[in-house]
């Protein structure tokens, strides 16, 4: 369902309440996984993903039909998510007791999730914010560069460069860890 962005916007414009659940279903995995890596723990990620989808719905319900038809809904969701994650990261820095609740034990049946999250979380956390966001959106969520660039509000070339720099840094981190071990 909704393979083309146009179909999605048209469905939302025709009947927001009927089409919105499909938007959530289509994007929730990517949105949650991104928030999970940007915020470092599952609980905050669930909150951020929920807030993102609720905010987008409330915005859409205020928009005119024309505006929804013109809207790139996916990129609107991603921009909202980045803002929500930024705000949440800021408020958890202000309230350090919640920041301590970082769960490194992430259980996901059928995958090596526990180990993966535990080792990658701290590495991603050491990247500059925009590089981290870009690499998570491109490689974790699997978004094309165009969508990453749109959500970050930068040219496509810049998004690509951010992703590559982030990968290079992560590789260096792994090599250094290898030497230590």
């Amino acid at each position: 369902m909704f393979n083309k962005p146009m179909e999605l916007s048209a469905a939302l414009a025709a009947n927001l309440d009927a089409a919105y659940p499909e938007v959530v279903r289509a994007l929730q995995g990517q949105v949650f996984s991104t928030a999970r890596q940007l915020l470092g723990n599952r609980h905050d990620a669930e909150d951020a993903a929920q807030e993102t989808f609720v905010r987008v719905y409330r915005a859409l319900s205020r928009f005119s039909t024309e505006r929804i038809l013109d809207l790139r809904i996916r990129s609107y969701v991603w921009t909202t998510l980045i803002n929500v994650c930024r705000n949440q990261a800021r408020s958890s820095r202000r309230h350090p007791q919640t920041a301590l609740e970082v769960d490194h034990g992430f259980v996901d049946p059928g995958s090596t999730g526990v180990e993966a999250s535990a080792t990658w979380g701290p590495r991603l956390a050491r990247l500059p914010e925009r590089q981290r966001t870009a690499v998570v959106m491109h490689h974790v969520a699997g978004l094309p560069y165009v969508e990453v660039a749109e959500a970050l509000g930068v040219p496509v070339g810049t998004a690509k460069a951010d992703v590559h720099r982030a990968l290079a840094r992560l590789r260096t981190m792994i090599e250094t860890e290898g030497e230590v071990a």
């Binding site: 309440d17 919105y20 659940p21 959530v24 279903r25 929730q28 995995g29 990517q30 949105v31 949650f32 996984s33 999970r36 890596q37 669930e46 993903a49 929920q50 989808f53 609720v54 719905y57 409330r58 996901d108 995958s111 090596t112 999730g113 993966a116 999250s117 990658w120 690499v135 998570v136 490689h139 974790v140 969520a141 699997g142 990968l167 992560l170 590789r171 792994i174």
Partner: protein, 250 residues
């Protein structure tokens, strides 16, 4: 060369928890949550979403699974968020629901006006259907008021049980007249002493020369020796009384 870092990052993509979808649907009002709460006539299912309370159904009058039919949205059993639960419990205790947010989407403007006016009737007091009609600016729409109240999605919280017939009888109730009487008695209304055709429609005070609905708080303070009963407003006017500005009997 395969980029092992990129491959590892791909492995960090997880399914969203199923709870996320349900929470988003409830918070946006595309679905309802429901929880069981205690009322003065027994337990009830209270349905809610991000906009407020959307339905109240006494347990036993409907199957839990049919709640979605009432609100025409999917319904999921879950605890009510604490801030909302506090307001609802306070409203069920006090009989005043002004602080409870309601989700009354799908109702006509007229029905919403009827319910908003009904919510102003204080606990332990009753007003006729005609009073509600007059107060919302549709004095002739007495029957339409009755219909709107019969379809009240949040009974008890929006006290449609406080609206009665102008001949002083209790009238109909969605869950039966017995429950209507029980609710009114639980709020402290002397149903036997005030309601019924044998009792006067209006009560006046000989000292102030003001006449009220019999259940108006002012009317209940009138000492027996100054208490006068009237069967019509004409009778009260003839005796030189003016209507109360608080309960606005006419």
């Amino acid at each position: 060369m395969i980029d092992t870092v990129a491959v590892a990052l791909e492995g960090l993509r997880f399914e969203a928890p199923e709870e996320l979808f349900t929470s988003v649907m409830i918070e946006t009002g595309l679905a309802d949550g429901y929880a069981s709460m205690r009322t003065s006539i027994g337990d009830a299912w209270v349905a809610f979403n991000g906009l407020g309370v959307s339905a109240l159904v006494p347990v036993g009058t409907i199957d839990e699974m049919e709640l979605g039919d009432v609100t025409r949205r999917p319904a999921h059993s879950r605890p009510m968020p604490e801030p909302l639960a506090d307001r609802v419990e306070e409203a069920l205790r006090s009989g005043r629901s002004q602080r409870v947010p309601f989700d009354l989407r799908g109702l006509s403007d007229f029905a919403r006006a009827v319910l908003a006016k009904t919510a102003e009737i204080p606990p332990g007091q009753v007003r006729p259907y005609g009073w509600v009609a007059r107060e919302i600016g549709h004095p002739a729409a007495v029957r339409a008021v009755g219909t709107a109240l019969a379809r009240n999605p949040v009974p008890i919280l929006i006290p449609c049980h406080r609206v009665v017939r102008s001949d002083n009888t209790v009238g109909q109730y969605a869950f039966g007249p017995d429950r209507k009487v029980r609710l009114l008695e639980a709020e402290g209304l002397d149903v036997g002493g005030i309601m019924g055709r044998q009792h006067a429609r209006f009560v006046g005070s000989g000292t102030t020369r003001i006449f009220c609905h019999p259940s108006c708080a002012r009317a209940r303070r009138i000492r027996p020796e100054y208490r006068h009963e009237f069967d019509s407003e004409a009778e009260a006017f003839e005796a030189g009384y003016r209507p109360c500005r608080i309960c606005r009997p006419i």
